[in-house]
């Protein structure tokens, strides 16, 4: 017998406490969630890269266990079928739960489960117009799905990562966080159990231990920020102590099944 539990997981690619905590009063929705639940820093042990980390977050397997590190391997663009992993939505769906995923960027175009969504610019939005479009289209798609009362909805916004690569250190970054905050407000009204997280944090380009992009980028734009090991986590009404990226999977599984291993019964 399946118990009805509703849960919303919102991923913000590259979101960092450095921006949020310094400007917390600019982000009333995030502030409210922080006050209603618990929040902490999740420190990534290996390389702070989106591809392996989103895989880890939704599969419960550490990067060294699943081995999926890049969008392209041996000159070939990888697809979902190339990744031999069961994600949280695969497992819950088999158990009879209504699970959806939108815009999960561990492959390109980003992966969707149980629904159709055309990612803006195939998951690589680079301009302000494309960031606006992603913000709007992901939010509207998520709202549509939330209306159908899913048991689990996982949704990722990728735009903050791109904004921070190009505008790190400027007020533009705060402006886009505010837009994200407004969008989150629209989503959380539907749900009670919420996880808001990032895959990695951000820092200045020079400070970053690894360089994910070239210094001069598309159209000659200078890259000013890059990935940092410290990611964010906010959890509301989640009965699980999340310490590492893979714990997100177990926290979700715990809410539905009360067991840690995620295996089917």
């Amino acid at each position: 017998m399946v118990t009805l539990i509703k849960m919303l997981v919102i991923g913000l690619d590259g979101a960092t406490w450095k921006v949020i905590k310094d400007n917390i009063n600019e982000f009333p929705t995030i502030k409210k969630l922080m006050n209603e639940g618990y929040h902490k820093t999740i420190t990534v042990r290996g390389k702070p890269l989106s591809v392996p980390l989103w895989c880890t977050i939704f599969s419960g397997k550490k990067p060294e266990e699943h081995g999926h590190e890049e969008f392209v391997v041996n000159g070939k663009l990888l697809h979902r079928d190339d990744i031999n992993l069961d994600f949280i939505w695969d497992i819950l769906n088999k158990q009879g739960y209504k699970a959806f995923a939108i815009n999960i960027p561990f492959v390109l175009p980003p992966y969707n489960f149980n629904t159709q969504f055309d990612a803006i610019s195939y998951g690589l939005p680079e301009t302000e117009e494309e960031w606006e479009k992603e913000l709007w289209s992901v939010t509207e798609k998520a709202k549509d799905l939330l209306q159908t009362k899913p048991d689990l909805l996982c949704v990722v916004y990728t735009l903050l990562d791109r904004v921070q690569h190009y505008y790190w250190g400027s007020s533009e970054v705060v402006r886009w966080y505010k837009k994200i905050d407004d969008s989150i407000k629209e989503l959380i009204q539907f749900d009670n159990k919420i996880i808001l997280l990032s895959d990695h944090g951000f820092c200045s380009f020079g400070e970053a231990k690894i360089k994910t992009l070239k210094k001069a980028n598309i159209d000659g734009r200078e890259v000013k920020g890059d990935h940092h090991e410290e990611a964010i986590l906010i959890a509301k009404n989640i009965n699980y102590d999340i310490k590492n990226p893979e714990d997100i999977f177990y926290a979700i599984m715990n809410e539905f099944n009360g067991n840690k291993n995620g295996t089917e019964e």
């Binding site: 890049e70 610019s121 680079e126 159908t148 980028n217």
Partner: protein
């Protein structure tokens, strides 16, 4: 919650009349016209309408670009209806790449080269192609008549205007015209028309073991989608509420190339 209908249901007679108009205009305006027939549902509906527009006879050469990787059911459909409909069929053999993975990476280029060969060999000044605007964002800028230059490039920002139903057949030297009679149709219209006209379609479109093909191409390039629709009526019902796009089983070579180029420009590899 009430399910949204993803398609606006058009009047089939209106769509058919409009397509007849495009087909007959093309026949009158161009000297040497060919038809690209992939044996998929759209190309077969287009062929059916051309037959109907000319009272049971297809007055143009029909070209099948054969990559050697088509489904056996597609070859059966081709041979059966080429005979039954008395088609003037020419099979254009494309470059055969035995390794399915390598074929998948180059499929778009392989097919484009074979079409170039066919257009050149038969000296076509126009070819009918069964594309629809709703299939993919890359196709939204196509017109009923979309010219291709001598290198088969499409300059979508410089196409002849199509106002008040006037179709402009002016071609520069070396150009040919792509004629798109199905441009205004959507996937649901196609299936409603298949039902209305009892058009024979490939069995791969119908569900077996919980999967069916919504869009057919080469075997390595096409994947089935989850579906229990095992006949035309069930497909029509399914399309009214589906959340999956028609081409969700296919990522075109052009899209893959675009993503790879962008990743490279960004410095990912």
């Amino acid at each position: 919650m009430e399910q949204k209908n993803k398609f606006v249901e058009m009047n089939l007679d209106e769509l058919e009349n409009n397509s007849f108009y495009v087909i007959r205009e093309a026949a009158a305006q161009f000297k040497n016209v060919g038809i690209l027939w992939s044996m998929g549902k759209d190309a077969t509906v287009m062929l059916w309408m051309i037959r109907k527009a000319f009272l049971g006879k297809v007055p143009f050469k029909v070209i099948h670009v054969d990559t050697g990787h088509k489904f056996p059911e597609m070859y059966e459909t081709r041979d059966k209806y080429a005979k039954e409909w008395n088609l003037n069929l020419d099979i254009e053999k494309a470059e055969y790449v035995a390794d399915p993975e390598k074929h998948r990476e180059r499929c778009g280029e392989i097919k484009a080269n074979a079409v170039k060969e066919a257009v050149s060999k038969h000296k076509f000044d126009a070819i009918f192609v069964g594309i629809r605007r709703d299939e993919h964002v890359l196709r939204t800028k196509e017109r009923y008549y979309s010219p291709r230059d001598k290198n088969f490039q499409w300059d979508y920002q410089n196409q002849p205007a199509e106002m008040w139903g006037i179709l402009n057949n002016i071609l520069e030297e070396g150009e040919h015209m792509r004629i798109h009679p199905l441009l205004d149709w959507n996937e649901l219209d196609i299936w409603r028309y298949i039902k209305k006209e009892s058009i024979p379609v490939n069995s791969l479109y119908f569900s077996k073991s919980g999967n069916r093909y919504r869009s057919l191409g080469c075997v390595p390039c096409t994947k089935p989608v989850p579906s229990n629709a095992s006949n035309v009526d069930e497909i029509i019902d399914e399309l009214k509420t589906t959340e999956f796009s028609e081409r969700s089983g296919r990522l075109s070579a052009r899209e893959q190339t675009y993503i790879m180029q962008k990743l490279r420009a960004l410095g990912y590899f």
